[in-house]
């Protein structure tokens, strides 16, 4: 196998290690399958670009990028941005859901305490 630069090798190996770590997180139930999908897809893409010089060179020409290594980094940065945006969206939704839960809990607690007071009064009377 022929590599264009040492960076390419480092990035490719790094991507494989990251993919393995992601899978291990899933195995230990620290990361859900849903979230692991994007990570595995991205790391596998980066690893393929890193290990397969013909694909990397072809893609670099196609995109009009000057250096092959820039193509790899461009994919990495694109993935990071997409992931951050996705997480922001999820976080906003979680916030809304949290507010709804807090509200529901507060109203239920009100009903519960009111019921308990009424019961105490009935028993006391």
């Amino acid at each position: 196998m022929q590599f264009l630069s040492r960076t390419q090798v480092v990035v490719a190996i790094g991507a494989v290690l990251l993919a393995l770590y992601v899978l291990d997180l899933v195995r230990r139930r620290r990361l859900s399958e849903e979230y692991s999908f994007a990570w595995v897809a991205a790391t596998v893409t980066i690893a393929v670009l890193g290990f397969s010089t013909p694909i990397l060179v072809g893609l670099t020409r196609l995109l009009g990028v000057v250096m092959e290594v820039s193509t790899v980094f461009a994919f990495g940065i694109a993935f990071s941005l997409a992931m951050l945006l996705y997480l922001s969206v999820r976080l906003s939704r979680l916030g809304t859901e949290k507010d709804a839960m807090v509200r529901e809990l507060a109203l239920l607690r009100y009903e519960f305490e009111a019921e308990r007071r009424a019961m105490a009064e009935r028993n006391g009377a």
Partner: protein
């Protein structure tokens, strides 16, 4: 027809010092209205002093912000059959003596939302420069969006009728329920009306508006106003 039931909703976050006086003042000024304190995750004795005053208390386990607390209040009001909900600050800024004036146009059906405004008539209130600029800006935005002049968009002293509360119990801004809320309500066909009131200095506690929020506030409200304007009203 029986008399309309009015609920004064008081969102309170760490307001144990000013709350008892505010509650007593509302009771004295308007003996017929009911009171609900929405304790928004206070860490001080706010829920205790509220209960000691004999009012209804709903407690958030964590802080949601003033909008979140009001939304809880609207839901409670709807579920307990109230016809009108009044939003009033716990810190004593809003003088309950103006409650009758605020309620009148809603009771008479002249509007769906009445807003207690510091600027409709000459009052003693003078805001700091940054707030004055902000108010000018958002008042201008509301006027552009609605063709109606609302001078005090940030006033937190308002009365809402039942149809408005039915909307607000489902959808309400979680922070700063100001200009964007007014735009979105007006776009749904609700009528807004300003009522002149005087506001006072807060009795105790901190204002909601810290430095970070002062920077975020104009951004958020500009964006939300734009969204309220372009979102289809349905």
């Amino acid at each position: 027809m029986s008399a309309p039931r009015v609920l004064v909703i008081i969102p309170a976050h760490d307001e144990e010092e000013s709350l008892p006086r505010t509650l007593a003042e509302v009771r004295a000024a308007a003996p017929d209205v009911d009171l609900l304190v929405v304790d928004d995750g206070s860490r001080d004795g706010t829920p205790r002093v509220a209960r000691a005053s004999g009012v209804e208390v709903v407690r958030h386990p964590v802080n949601l912000g003033v909008g979140g607390a009001l939304q809880t209040g609207f839901r409670w009001a709807c579920e307990h059959g109230y016809d009108i909900g009044v939003q009033l600050d716990a810190d004593g800024q809003h003088d309950p003596l103006y409650l009758a004036a605020l309620l009148a146009p809603v009771l008479e059906g002249r509007c769906n939302v009445s807003i207690g405004s510091r600027y409709v008539a000459r009052t003693g209130y003078r805001a700091p420069l940054n707030r004055r600029l902000g108010m000018l800006l958002f008042s201008g935005i509301v006027r552009m969006a609605l063709g109606q002049r609302i001078t005090d968009t940030t006033s937190g002293f308002r009365a809402y009728d039942r149809p408005v509360m039915e909307v607000c119990r489902v959808e309400f801004p979680r922070d700063f329920p100001d200009a964007p809320l007014l735009i979105s309500l007006a776009r749904r066909g609700f009528r807004l009306l300003e009522v002149p009131v005087e506001m006072r200095e807060r009795i105790a506690g901190r204002s909601f508006y810290t430095l970070g929020k002062q920077l975020y506030y104009p951004y958020k409200n500009l964006l939300a106003s734009l969204m309220a304007f372009i979102q289809r009203s349905n």
